[in-house]
């Protein structure tokens, strides 16, 4: 009897110990280290659907010394598994839709999609083509639209910054999905 009591006692102690650790972790998280870091370090991944390269050049211009997106912590990573923000230029068509979907699915949550340029937003002048599906919103969920032909680097950086603002909401959604509250 005494042994069982001891076991119960040890169990409750261990459980309370872990509870305490988890609550401190949650407090630290509540203070917002991770949330703040998320805003300070958005790694972008750039995918060119069928852009005419106008928007691509403007997107890469954001990384040049003139605009230097790295001062905001923005790094162009080129690997979907490291990325937080997906920048898409050009319209979606039947050939690249599955590539776009695949890249989107490989990105770990929380993630944000920014559609850059008229083509990515609506399909642009290619909208009526027989193979074009229209804007990329027809393939993957889009969070920020940056219109323009081509979109200016200032507008692109602004779009990324607005995307950063949505990352926290996405993190909340991610947690709910983990608990099985949505889906």
């Amino acid at each position: 009897m005494l042994k069982i009591d001891l076991k119960n006692f040890a169990e409750t102690r261990i459980r309370s110990f872990f509870k305490e650790i988890f609550s401190t972790v949650r407090k630290v998280n509540g203070m917002g280290i991770i949330s703040k870091s998320r805003k300070k370090s958005p790694w972008v991944m750039h995918y060119d659907c069928t852009s005419c390269n106008g928007c691509d050049i403007e997107t890469l211009a954001c990384l040049t010394p003139l605009y230097d997106a790295e001062r905001l912590g923005i790094v162009n990573v080129g690997n979907p598994k490291h990325a937080d923000i997906l920048l898409v230029t050009g319209s979606a068509n039947k050939r690249n839709a599955h590539v776009l979907k695949s890249i989107y699915n490989q990105m770990p949550d929380p993630k944000v999609v920014v559609a850059i340029g008229a083509c990515a937003c609506t399909g642009g002048i290619f909208k009526e083509c027989y193979n074009v599906l229209g804007g990329i919103e027809n393939v993957i969920p889009v969070d920020v639209f940056v219109p323009g032909c081509c979109a200016r680097p200032e507008a692109i950086i602004d779009g990324i910054v607005q995307g950063i603002g949505k990352l926290d909401d996405k993190a909340v959604l991610m947690k709910q999905e983990d608990k099985g509250l949505t889906k």
Binding site: N29, S37, K40, N76, G78, P108
Partner: protein
């Protein structure tokens, strides 16, 4: 192992990543200034680290995390041995275990980028391990002991007896820190021929732990540099920081070379210089 040693080790394990992260941040800032950019804040590596901790965990297979943890813990082990002034030879072996652990982790996935990156990392290890071992041999010849405490008690700084070994060690440091021109295992910029090489399939927490390991490695290697100038200790630290700055300059002014070139030059020049130094010490005692 007294309680004092444990205390020192714990403090070192906490302080080293802070120092390594700060140094990495300063590296990124200086690099940006050299490229005429403004650059990220100094604390940027920590932001990256905590952000990666908050990402969704995607593991490609079940064993991947084990190799990442092995990479981290062997690096911490090597660092603790350095702080407690233990055996230098053993330290090098543990460091090699850390590197091998990462290579196995990168080999355990199916991505060809990761596999090619791992093979290139093997080439890098093949290039720098002999030089590191020769350095240990040189240290033994100079001080008569493999212990780091023996180096600190030695009557003169090691640089006087091992100048060429020090130069080849500096050369190897560029390979170990994966700086350009030897950054082909994980390229600095992820939109090149190997995406991110070795780390392509690591994401979220795993990538954060890899960065943490890099910080430990950085501090350990700067510590090893300062051993060459160990008396007084602040000279060693200044020289270590100066050589880190030199690494940043080399990183920014050089283009990537092929691995054949690296292995050839490292074996001929690096091992050659270290061997000449050691043979010299035998001939002229």
């Amino acid at each position: 192992m007294s309680i004092n040693n444990i205390l020192i080790a714990v403090i070192a394990i906490i302080v080293a990543p802070l120092l390594g992260g700060l140094l990495t941040g300063i590296d990124r800032r200086i690099t940006a200034r050299m490229q005429n950019r403004f650059g990220p804040p100094i604390l940027q590596p920590f932001y990256d680290f905590f952000k990666l901790l908050g990402k969704q965990g995607i593991a490609v297979n079940q064993t991947q995390m084990v190799y990442v943890l092995g990479h981290l813990f062997f690096a911490i082990g090597a660092f603790v041995m350095f702080i407690l002034q233990q055996d230098l030879l053993m330290l090098m072996f543990i460091l090699a275990f850390s590197g091998v652990s990462l290579i196995i982790g990168a080999m355990s996935v199916r991505s060809p980028y990761s596999k090619i990156g791992a093979q290139r990392e093997i080439m890098q290890m093949m290039a720098y391990e002999p030089v590191l071992l020769l350095m240990v041999v040189g240290v033994y010849k100079a001080t008569g002991s493999f212990m780091i405490s023996g180096i600190l008690e030695h009557h003169q700084p090691l640089i006087f007896s091992l100048p060429l070994v020090f130069l080849s060690f500096l050369y190897v440091l560029t390979i170990k820190l994966r700086k350009s021109p030897f950054d082909f295992a994980t390229s600095h910029h992820g939109h090149q021929e190997l995406i991110k090489g070795l780390t392509t399939e690591f994401s979220g927490t795993q990538l954060a732990l890899l960065e943490l390991t890099d910080w430990f490695d950085l501090v350990l290697f700067l510590g090893l540099i300062s051993l060459f100038f160990a008396r007084p200790w602040w000279v060693g630290i200044i020289i270590a920081l100066a050589s880190y700055f030199a690494e940043i300059v080399i990183d920014n002014i050089s283009a990537r070379v092929t691995w054949q070139w690296m292995v050839k030059i490292t074996w001929v020049v690096g091992i050659g210089a270290a061997l000449v130094n050691i043979v010299w010490m035998y001939l002229i005692p």
